[in-house]
Subunit: 279 residues, 2 copies
C-alpha cells in the first residue's frame, strides 16, 4: 500500500485555492488527496507542522497585489519552500437568494474579493454591510442557512457547488484578473525543470544605493527580475524585507553565483526555492 | 472675511486619520476646518473635484504595509500631489459593552486594524464573525445602537469619544505600530523645507536590469531611497508600477537631474511632490 500525499488548501470546496490545488492534482494524478483548511495561516502551519506534505496558498493577485499573510509567513527563517506556482483566472459573481440588489443588506466575501469588486459595491450596493469571511466559498456556503438580504461574492465554481443563483454576474472592477498560487513544502524543489527562483532579503545597512547594489548582482549576469516587492519588517516604519523573483531556475549556471554574492550584502537572506509553473 | 481651508479626512471623528488631520491643524492654526468623509476614495475624490482644498489619507502601516487604494488613486495621471506626511503611533483596543470575551459573537473594524490584530482574533475570538467597516471609529460608533455580543477594534481616542468600555486593551500583534498619513492637494507643495520626494513610475520595457538602471540614477548622485514598493499596474500579472520615496527635498541640487534622466528610462512617470514631515 502506498501512502497518499496530502495537499492542504484554503477551503472549503469551491475556493480559487481549491481550483489551484486541483491543478496540482491533475499534474500528479493518482497519489494525491486534498484537505481543506479554514485559513491561509492554517494551511502553512499544517505544512510546517508535518500534518500535510504540501499546501496551496494565494500569493499575489493582478489587481490587489500581494497576499500579505502568505509573504510574511514564508519569509520566516523556517523550512518552508516554494515547490511550484499555479496561475488561475479570477471571475467574481454576486450570488444570492435575494430577488434584486435593493433587498441585499449584507455582502460577504474574502477581503481580496471585496477589494477587487469595490467599485460595484460602492456604486450599486453602497448601503450594504460588508462582512469579511476567511474565503470566498465560505461566504457562499453561508447563504444556504440564511434567508433574504444576504449575498456573497463567489467564484463560478462555488455557484455550481452550493447551487446559489447568480444575482449579478462578473462584478469585478478589472478585466485582467488573475491570481498566482504557490505550492509549498518543507524542502526545496529538486525538479530540474524550474524556471523561476524567489528570494527574500533585508539590506545590510541603510545607505545610499543599498538596494541598487543587490540588483546589480542580478544585472551583472543578465538575470531578469520578474518581481520586486517590499514588505514591512515589522520593526517600525522604514524597515523592509524585499521579495525578489528572478527568471532563472536551479539549472541556470549563474544563479548560485548571484546568491552567494548576496550573502555578504544582505542582513537576512532566504532562498525560497526554484520552481516551475503548473498550468 | 477670509475663506477657511477645509481638510477632508476619513471619518467619523476618532479615527487615526482624524488624529493626523488634527496635527495638520495644529501646525497651521486659525484658518483650517476639518470635514469627515466615509471612505479613503471619497476623501481623494473630494480634493480632486475641488470640494475641499486638502485631504488626509493613510498611506502605509509599519505592520501591514501600504494602503493599496491610496497608492492606486494617487498613481493616476491627474493633479493630485503630496503636500506633507504625518506619522501617528497606533494602538488598538477591543471595545465592547459585552461583559467578557465569551459573549462576543461579532468583531467590527477597518480591514487594516483587523489584520494588525489577527493573532488575538484567531486565538481569543476564533468563533466570532469579522465585520469590515470603512473606518475603526465607524465600528466603534455602531456599538451604541446595538446590544451585547458586538465588539469593535478602535483607538484610545474613539474609546473616549464614543464612551464604550475597553473589554481588552492593546490587542495588536506588534509593538512597533505606526501609520504614515499623507496630506494631499491639487498642486505640488512649494514649501522649501521639504525633505522627501515621492515618484511613481513604470519600466519602459521588460529587460534584464530595467529597475537596476532606474535605481542607478539615484545612486549616481548618492540620493538615498527610503522606500521602494511595487503595485500591480492592473494589466495582468507581471506588470507593475513602482513607488519610490527618496530622501531629497525640492531644494536638493541633484533632484531635478535625476528626475529628468528618469523621463527617458520610464514608460510612465509622475512626480507626486516634495514634502516635509509634520510631527
Amino acid at each position: 500500500m502506498t501512502m497518499k500525499t496530502t495537499i492542504a488548501y484554503l477551503g472549503p470546496e469551491g475556493t480559487f485555492s481549491h481550483q489551484a490545488a486541483q491543478k496540482c492534482l491533475e499534474s500528479n494524478p493518482g497519489n494525491i488527496n486534498l484537505q481543506p483548511y479554514p485559513g491561509i495561516a492554517q494551511v502553512l502551519y499544517a505544512v510546517e507542522n508535518d500534518e500535510t506534505a504540501l499546501g496551496v496558498v494565494p500569493a499575489e493577485n493582478s489587481i490587489e497585489g500581494s497576499v500579505n499573510i502568505t509573504l510574511d509567513l514564508l519569509a520566516r527563517d523556517i523550512p518552508l519552500y516554494i515547490k511550484a506556482e499555479i496561475i488561475i483566472d479570477i471571475k467574481h459573481h454576486l450570488l444570492s437568494h435575494s430577488k434584486d440588489l435593493n433587498s441585499v443588506h449584507t455582502v460577504m466575501s474574502h477581503t481580496q474579493a471585496i477589494a477587487q469588486c469595490r467599485h460595484f459595491l460602492e456604486t450599486r450596493l453602497k448601503n450594504a454591510d460588508i462582512l469579511e469571511t476567511t474565503s470566498t466559498a465560505e461566504a457562499v456556503s453561508r447563504l444556504n442557512s440564511h434567508g433574504e438580504g444576504l449575498a456573497a461574492i463567489g467564484s463560478p465554481e462555488s455557484h455550481k457547488i452550493y447551487q446559489v443563483p447568480i444575482l449579478h454576474p462578473d462584478i469585478g472592477c478589472y478585466p485582467h484578473n488573475q491570481t498566482r498560487f504557490l505550492l509549498v513544502g518543507r524542502s526545496p524543489e529538486t525538479n530540474s525543470l524550474s524556471s523561476k527562483t524567489s528570494l527574500v532579503l533585508s539590506l545590510k545597512k541603510d545607505r545610499p544605493g543599498g538596494l541598487y547594489d543587490i540588483l546589480g548582482e542580478f544585472a551583472k549576469y543578465e538575470l531578469n527580475l520578474c518581481k520586486i516587492e517590499s514588505r514591512p519588517a515589522k520593526m517600525g516604519l522604514g524597515n523592509y524585507l524585499f521579495f525578489i523573483d528572478c527568471e532563472a531556475g536551479s539549472n541556470h549556471p549563474d544563479l548560485l553565483k548571484v546568491i552567494d554574492s548576496l550573502r555578504t550584502k544582505t542582513g537576512y537572506l532566504k532562498n525560497l526555492g526554484s520552481y516551475r509553473c503548473i498550468s
